[in-house]
Amino acid sequence: MTAANRQGDLAPPNSARTEMSLRRRLLLFLLLPLIPLSAMLIMLIYWAIRSATTESYDRVLEGSALAIADRVVLESSTLVVDLPYAALQMLTNSAEDRVFYSVQIYPSGEVITGYRDLPAPDFTTGNDGEDRIVQYIDFRGERMRMVAIRDEALSYAAKQTFVVLVAETMGQRQVVLERYLRRAVLAFVIGVFLVSALTLYAVNLGLRPLRNLAQAVRLRGERDLRAIRRPVPPEGQPLVDEINALFARLEKALNSHRRFVSNTAHQLRTPLAELKTQLEVARLEGTPPDLSGLSGRVDGLAHLVDQMVLLSRIGEQPSGVDTFGDVDLRVLAEQAVAEWSLRAIEAGIDLGLQVEAKAPSRVHGHQSLLLEALGNLIDNVIKHAAGATTATIQVHKDRLIVTDDGPGFRPKGSNESSVQRFGLSIVHEIMDLHKGRVTQNLGLRAEVALIFDGEDDLGSKGTAP
């Protein structure tokens, strides 16, 4: 058996669909969920970083607003802000961002200092009771974050409510957010890569017993059909068991083939020796040989060869015309009778058919092999049942019985001819193949029964084993 051949045996027959490798399948199922999972996690990380930066930057902004509010005093019922610009600039988050502020009287909105057009939030609606509002605004064509603080300035006699607004452009926030996000994504990609690598390694490690098994089978010689003893994981055990069972069947088939070949070689040698001897005797004595006897022997040899060819073909792939199928035993018996009638009549034997079964007797079988088996039995009666005058094939529900009124088959080892013995051994082989049996009864009427009691089993297999 060549390597290509072996591969062909393992490939699924006539299957256009190729099966995905176990490894690929595992990797796919393990790694594919990582994609949505990663997207989700990156989203979460984005939200976390964003809220963290927003919160801390807001706090700084609030600090600025509170610092300004601290400098607001009420001097003779007039609000005064004592704040140098440079001091304000120190309170901002970064050098790049610009800061806008405004201090206004509440609720009139009169601006005391700072940018006049900085819009004050509405402290009454929606933000009821809150003295501190943080919100996004669009100011001078830019998106900004603004803190508004409502406070009161007190003097000994009066009090005045005011609002401090501090707005800041968001450049630095964006820069920081992006920086952290980049780091997080990088860390994440590295993580995914590591997980993939580990998974790959683990899958390879996990599948190693399978590869080792394949290696072990590959290294087997084609004649080594011992069972595989190598320990495999429990998941692999059924496969190994099946392979071992197949090995056992192959071994059995091989053995029966070897036995068959050596048997037939012996069977062929005997009539050839007889033939040779007859010819030698004729040559030595100078008398013409017994021509009809020789012709009969040659016929026997030819028949033997026919049957060997037939039997050797049993294990072949079914070819469509010559396979196992539904066989009607009655039709089979009729065919056999029709085929053998002329020879039976010429031998002075009344060959007939007797249907005992009430219903059609159908078995799963090999038409031409069964015909051959039946033919061998009839042939035996015609050639060897000395004194027989009738032979009958009885068709029963699950069996065919060939009976004759001769003295019966002589026990093995006696004077039976090699061809006869071989004929019977072929009948046995054929019935073995049908999971059936052959029984012989050497009573007053000799009878041989072909019994089909395993056809269900065979039916499930469909083809010859």
């Binding site: 016929d299 026919d306 070819s319 015309v321 029709a338 009638s341 009549i345 009344d350 007797q354 249907v355």
Partner: protein
Amino acid sequence: MRALLVEDNQVLADGVALAFSKAGLNLEHAGTLEGARAFLSAFSVDIVLLDLTLPDGDGLTLLGEMRARQDRTPVLILTARDAVRDRVTGLDRGADDYLTKPFALDELMARARALARRQAGATDARLTVGPLMLDTAGYQAWLDQIALNLPRREFACLAILATNANAVVSKDSLISALYNNADPPMPNAIEVIISRLRKRLTHPAIALKTVRGVGYMLLEHDR
């Protein structure tokens, strides 16, 4: 009867030729497909004995060509190859019978005669089995030139048996050939016809045999 043997093995061909000439019959011999084609294009024969493995191709090719041009000449395949498979493919392609090598020469002669007879019965209405002669058009039968004057149904039964001489004809096929639904057979009708025929066919060279449980056979002794 004129037969064409297409066979490249000279020993076999000589044997068959001897058997045919002893029987007083004509046998032409072609050793190749090409020779057989040439012969068949010029002459007609009653039967072709066709070997499958020929030096210039497969005998089945010739069979296919003959059947393709509506040549219904009976073809008997002689094969040394795998019997069962050749039997099926050969018969599928329109062969009429097959014989596995090695074969007995008298078996070959009997089969060839039977095929030629069947063909003749289909075309010229005259049928001969040993001493028995039938005219299927005139519904007349003679045994050793003596007219038998058989009733119509007995004649039909004998004609079927004679066409298939030396082969088993099942009782069922006799019933379906001789009777129809409008005219169903009495119980034992076939047995009665056979026993009447048997009384008429008293000749040592032929016998009407019962094949128990299957049917009947018109047997020609001394084939």
